[in-house]
């Protein structure tokens, strides 16, 4: 069922993380991004495709050129990934507190 790539898989790759950092401040064309790497251009294109599929990058047409930039919403999703984990423990500990408080007043 899960055909779409996982954002965490996307950021597990060092080149892809470097690409995200590059386009963090301004939108860039595929050529300008590739110029920062020793990797072959098709490899960089593949990385861009994966990042775009995961919606970490957004594409914007400007004249003849396609610009890649960060999608802040998706980045926030990654930054917040630990929140459900925290919430899980918070819920558990709230329960612990309630149960032990009741025990105290018994």
């Amino acid at each position: 069922m899960n055909l779409r790539r996982d954002v965490f898989q996307a950021i597990a790759d060092p080149t892809r993380r470097a690409i995200l950092l590059l386009v963090a401040s301004q939108g860039m064309t595929a050529g300008a991004i590739a110029a920062n790497f020793n990797t072959a251009r098709p490899t960089v294109s593949k990385h861009l495709q994966i990042l775009t599929e995961c919606e970490l990058l957004q594409q914007e047409q400007n004249g003849r050129e396609m610009y890649y930039s960060l999608n802040p919403d998706k980045i926030k999703e990654i930054a917040d990934f630990i929140e459900p984990f925290r919430k899980f423990w918070d819920d558990r500990f709230n329960k612990l507190e309630d149960i032990m408080k009741k025990h105290k007043t018994k």
Binding site: F8, F81, I82, E83, P84, F85, R86, K87, F88, W89, D90, R92, F93, N94, K95, L96, E97, I99, M100, K101, H103, K104
Partner: protein
């Protein structure tokens, strides 16, 4: 308001640190970890075994509403100092998360409040990251399942 439970998971490390302040005296907080009946209540699991002492072991089991075993965890206790510290291993059976080492430090704050510092160490960074993302992934899966339910129903209605 600051969240009551704090989670620190530094990038590239094998550990997670969870800190929580409780509105409970230290004795009651510790009891929640020491006595099987309380563990069962707050963790929502069956406690098959809990020997709260050095060299002791424990075993938890939870069933789903259909009565099938959905969760099994066990471990051994290496250190057990009442109202101060528990060191134990933890393993969730049938998962790729491996065995984790857990340090629980209990600290009195005032007569009626106390703090728990929980440090969990995983075998690899990848395993730790997987565990951290578990509730995140479950949340997304649940949303998907709900979507499927809703969409599934509508498709059925169209068919009928």
């Amino acid at each position: 308001m600051e969240p009551k439970t704090k989670v620190h998971a530094e990038d590239g490390k094998q550990e997670v640190v969870i800190t929580r302040d409780f509105d409970l005296p230290i004795e009651l907080l510790f009891k929640a970890y020491e006595e099987p009946e309380f563990v069962a209540q707050w963790m929502g699991t069956r406690v098959l075994k809990l020997e709260s002492k050095k060299h002791g072991g424990y075993q938890f089991e939870t069933s789903n509403p259909k009565g099938e075993v959905a969760f099994q965890a066990s471990g051994v206790i290496h250190e057990f100092i009442p109202n101060q510290k528990i060191t134990r291993t933890f393993e969730m059976e049938g998962t790729p998360f491996g065995v984790q080492l857990e340090f629980y430090e209990f600290e009195p704050l005032t007569d009626g409040t106390s703090r728990l510092n929980m440090r969990v160490i995983y075998e690899t960074v990848a395993q730790r990251d997987q565990v951290l993302r578990l509730p995140f992934a479950q949340g997304i899966n649940m949303a998907h399942n709900r979507l499927e339910e809703v969409v599934g129903k509508e498709m059925k209605e169209v068919k009928e």
